[in-house]
């Protein structure tokens, strides 16, 4: 009961109000709270641009790129797959430095990332006795002192050998055995924190402290990552929550409890984001909780909405935005699809599971649940990340280092089975070079990025770093799409991605300012779409896709769709393409043509690039090999924004 009360309050505050309080000046706030603003009052708020261009603008002007999900050799499975790079190496690589990979190859990002989180599995994390990290006891002991001096004089390797010998002969100094038994787990967590603290450079590069809670009962993926807003001083007051009993649990409700306990104990903040609903066999976004067999209740909905504000929608083990079975009219659904079974392929997939696995379907069911329970448990924003188990956060098609160290570039990585059971096979080529998280934050710090994630001002891409803006409000008009900087009218007259619009003024339909700019080193843009989902009066949910801006002067029909494909310039044998089709930038204002003020709805943006070569084409070219016929060699990369939700009054 206490729990639900505490959670209730922040939910009531979420969205608009919290956003306004934290991020806007008083002037902005007055415009935001009413949600409506006419031109005259806008002119009053902004009578004239201030002399200093940055003055009076507290909104995020920069999108920061990162990966919330990188495994290193500290993860049991990564180590078993041959990963040799630890958290330190993962950060060094993400910052744009060259590293030697676990298979001895040289790897470097084309463009550095702004942040990553190393999220090793909490179960069986790392191993090792705390040897002697700078302890005074160690220096007081003559042997310890000698080792210390050896290290200082550059004979670290010799010292390490001596230590091992001392261990093996039972001559290890008692003074150094300060803990009973080996404290492997603690040790790995300390190392993880230490690596993040060292790599973190506020303003330049953010290294989140984090871990993965890998609930996988029966092979059904309910995995979630946990990120800390805090620094090491707080994170080290606890140890990661595991799934193994008795310490841990495989039920997300227990993880949420752990999060609350952490926050109470330390005064800090943590968030969690799930991934790979596509491998959960119908359990990721349930209507019936798999742990109890009962319909989810209000407390579940409240806690999930509060704890899980973003979802990792695309990654190497497949894309989870939409499935063709659920969205038969969406010709772009089914991108990089993994739908053969659960994570270990012990149980095959059936169509009835899909509705509870894919993000779009979950957003729809969320509207239904909100009507029933008063809270929408699936009101999440979207990010992409890699889930690389190599320490290498790569999502570029021409620089893809695979899911595991055994799938780092080699002539046969595409044609080796990735998972194989007697029921099904997932081949190496099915890995997706995806994805990254774009975060509209005010600064590149743990705190600013975390807060942006919590307010869902984030979006997912399958790798390319396109810039996407999405604002919703009641007063956007065509002129706003022509303004020099679309963010100015965007924040002034509406809410950004992840926000809420409510209280529809009589006779008004919601309007959206949508803008996308290509990755400076990526493919041009094919089209920008708004995807709407809504709940009708009879309690049924629906979805509809609108093409709102398309390249090359193609026509959008009266039904809101552009049926002319953008074309294709991909030269597969050479793994190249040209930007002779598509647009570098697409900006528009779109108004919902079928708005019903009584119906709950969500709107999110999908941006599609022109076709470009897939990583398998780059592999074929580089290694001079021929891929089997069934291997896709090109694709249309994309971005998914967090939705904007419309909620009717009452």
């Amino acid at each position: 009961m206490i729990l639900s009360l505490r959670i209730c309050r922040p939910i009531a505050l979420a969205g608009l109000v919290a956003f306004v309080l934290v991020f806007f000046s008083a002037q902005f706030a007055s415009a935001q709270e009413t949600d409506t603003i006419d031109k005259d009052s806008a002119a009053k708020l902004f009578p004239k641009a201030p002399y200093s261009p940055a003055a009076g603008r507290d909104f995020p002007t920069h999108v920061y790129w990162g990966d919330t999900h990188v495994h290193t050799s500290f993860s049991m499975d990564a180590g078993a797959f041959g990963a040799r790079l630890g958290p330190k190496d993962a950060y060094i690589f993400a910052k744009g430095n060259e590293v030697t990979t676990s298979t001895g190859q040289r790897a470097k990002l084309t463009c550095p990332l702004d942040f990553i989180a190393v999220t090793d599995h909490s179960d069986n994390m790392g191993f090792f006795p705390e040897l002697f990290a700078g302890k005074p006891e160690m220096l007081a002991d003559p042997t310890g002192r000698r080792w210390y001096d050896m290290v200082q004089s550059g004979k670290g390797a010799d010292a390490a050998i001596e230590i091992i010998v001392a261990f093996s002969q039972g001559k290890f100094p008692k003074a150094l055995e300060s803990r009973p038994g080996t404290e492997a787990y603690r040790r790995a967590w300390d190392e993880t924190i230490k690596a993040a603290e060292e790599a973190n450079e506020p303003g330049k590069f953010t290294a989140f402290i984090g871990y993965e809670w890998t609930s996988n009962t029966g092979g059904n993926n309910l995995h979630r990552n946990i990120l800390f807003r805090d620094n090491g001083d707080k994170a080290s007051m606890v140890e990661p929550y595991t799934t193994q009993k008795p310490e841990g649990s495989d039920n997300p409700r227990d993880l949420w409890k752990w999060m609350t306990e952490y926050e109470q104990k330390t005064g800090g903040q943590v968030l969690t984001l799930a991934h790979n609903g596509n491998l959960s066999n119908g359990r990721m976004f349930p209507l019936i909780e798999s742990f109890t067999g009962k319909p989810i209740d209000r407390e579940y909905a409240q806690t999930r909405a509060f704890r899980e504000r973003i979802y990792e929608v695309t990654q190497i083990k497949g894309d989870g935005e939409a499935h063709p079975f659920l969205s038969p009219n969406d010709e772009f659904a089914g991108y990089e699809k993994w739908d053969k079974g659960n994570l270990d392929l012990s149980v095959l997939k059936t169509n009835d599971m899909l509705e509870f696995e894919y993000a779009r379907a979950a957003l729809r069911n969320g509207l239904k649940l909100e009507k029933e329970l008063g809270v929408n448990p699936y009101k999440f924003g979207m990010v992409g990340s890699t889930d690389a188990h190599t320490g290498l956060a790569t999502a570029d098609e021409d620089n893809f280092w695979g899911k595991t160290s055994s799938s780092e570039p080699s002539p046969d990585r595409a044609t080796h089975p990735f998972v194989k059971t007697d029921k099904a096979v997932i081949m190496g080529w099915e890995q997706a070079a995806s994805g990254y998280a774009g975060v509209w934050a005010t600064d590149n710090t743990r705190q600013a990025l975390f807060d942006a994630m919590q307010r869902k001002e984030v979006y997912a891409t399958t790798g390319p770093r396109m810039i996407v803006r999405f604002f919703g409000g009641w007063e956007f008009d065509a002129k706003d799409a022509l303004s020099r900087n679309p963010a100015n009218p965007g924040y002034l007259k509406g809410v950004p991605m992840g926000g809420d619009i409510r209280n529809a003024p009589a006779g008004k339909s919601p309007t959206f300012l949508v803008a996308a700019l290509k990755d400076p080193i990526g493919g041009n843009l094919d089209r920008v779409q708004v995807i709407k989902g809504w709940l009708d009066a009879s309690g049924q949910t629906h979805e509809r896709i609108y093409d709102v801006a398309v390249s090359d002067n193609r026509k959008i029909s009266a039904d809101g769709r552009c049926k002319t494909p953008v074309g294709d310039t991909v030269d597969v044998p050479n793994a190249t393409y040209t930007n002779t089709i598509g647009a570098s930038e697409l900006i528009t204002v779109w108004k919902d043509p079928e708005f019903d003020a009584a119906q709950r709805a969500f709107y999110y943006v999908r941006v599609l690039e022109i076709p470009t070569p897939r990583w398998t084409a780059y592999d074929a070219k580089y290694f001079g090999i021929t891929m089997p016929k069934e291997v896709p060699m090109k694709g249309q990369e994309r971005a998914y924004t967090s939705p904007i939700w419309y909620t009717p009054a009452n």
């Binding site: 261009p53 940055a54 050799s73 180590g79 078993a80 330190k88 060094i92 463009c111 790392g126 191993f127 090792f128 040897l131 002697f132 990290a133 700078g134 080792w147 210390y148 290290v151 200082q152 550059g154 670290g156 390797a157 390490a160 050998i161 230590i163 803990r179 009973p180 038994g181 404290e183 787990y185 040790r187 190392e191 060292e198 606890v238 140890e239 929550y241 595991t242 008795p246 310490e247 952490y262 104990k265 002539p411 046969d412 810039i467 803006r469 022509l482 303004s483 020099r484 900087n485 679309p486 963010a487 996308a516 700019l517 290509k518 990755d519 400076p520 080193i521 390249s551 570098s584 930038e585």
Partner: protein
């Protein structure tokens, strides 16, 4: 009759079990005298409590503690018996884990090293390019979307340039050019930062431009831009004090890698390694590929 019994699989199993037991007893006796004694010390109990408390945010109650201890004993029994049977030897995850523990030792030792100022200075002078401070630019841009201007792009650009140069570097560009998602004014950004947003090519062009003058159109990865660079700070090699932390980090990383290498080398030197490759298969793969595969 006797022969028939000998053929029974169950009997085989029993005999095998007895043999294993005998062997493990032998090994146990040989390795240590007190492998049959399991003593749970107060320190270990505290450790169990401690671990539980960190995970649950509360100490275990007496029943839970009993359970923890019971489970720990069970683990210890199985652990010892498994080791005695050599079950660790062919188990890939266990081998990996032990290897990782060794690597931790090496990493930890390396982490103790604190560089002297002299070491940092010489590291900086040996690796100047790692710490070079990038060129920095302050510039204003006006964007021209190729899709909007088409063939008129160049003439439109020239017209705008005339106008812009009349107003000079402080020209108000808030209403000039096409809508663009990147900020019009960019203040004191490194060329790496420029490349991140506009592409390498544009960042390189920026370095060639005469300051204080509107020029263009300049190609970027995004379209054409008219640009006025108002301030440029040349790249330079920093003094140690400016980058001490970065140098320390790089030094420590190099030291770590080198010390890991030496550590392994020293251990390796204690062994004679003989690799006996299987005879190469008739045609199929090249030897290099065959060796590479795990």
């Amino acid at each position: 009759m006797f022969q028939k019994i000998l053929r029974e699989p169950l009997v085989h199993f029993l005999i095998l079990g007895a043999l294993l037991l005998f062997a493990s007893n032998l090994i146990n006796k040989r390795t240590s005298g007190d492998t049959r004694k399991i003593v749970i010390t107060p320190g270990q109990v505290e450790h169990l409590e401690d671990t539980f408390a960190r995970a649950h945010q509360r100490p275990p109650d007496p029943d839970e503690l009993k359970g923890l201890i019971r489970d720990y004993v069970r683990e210890e029994v199985y652990y010892r018996e498994a080791l005695a049977l050599g079950l660790d030897r062919d188990d890939a995850p266990i081998r990996q884990r032990l290897r990782q523990k060794m690597e931790f030792i090496s990493e930890d030792v390396a982490a103790q090293a604190q560089p002297t100022g002299e070491q940092l200075r010489s590291y900086l002078s040996d690796h100047p390019e790692k710490f070079r401070i990038d060129k920095h630019f302050t510039f204003t841009q006006v964007y021209l979307d190729p899709a909007r201007h088409g063939r008129r792009l160049n003439s439109d650009a020239q017209q705008m340039l005339v106008q812009l140069n009349k107003s000079g570097p402080r020209a108000d560009v808030s209403n000039m050019g096409d809508p663009f998602l990147l900020e019009g004014n960019t203040k004191d950004v490194s060329s790496r930062g420029v490349a991140r947003d506009y592409g390498e090519k544009f960042a390189a062009s920026l370095g060639q431009l005469p300051p204080g003058k509107w020029v263009g159109p300049i190609e970027s990865g995004l379209g054409m831009l008219l640009v006025c660079v108002t301030n440029r700070t040349d790249g330079r090699l920093p003094q140690l004090d400016e980058v001490r932390e970065a140098v320390r980090r790089e030094w420590a990383n190099d030291y770590r890698l080198e010390s890991n290498r030496q550590f392994y080398q020293a251990l390796l030197n204690r062994y004679t390694v003989t690799v006996e490759l299987p005879p190469p298969p008739a045609d199929t793969k090249t030897p290099a590929a065959a060796v590479r595969r795990p």
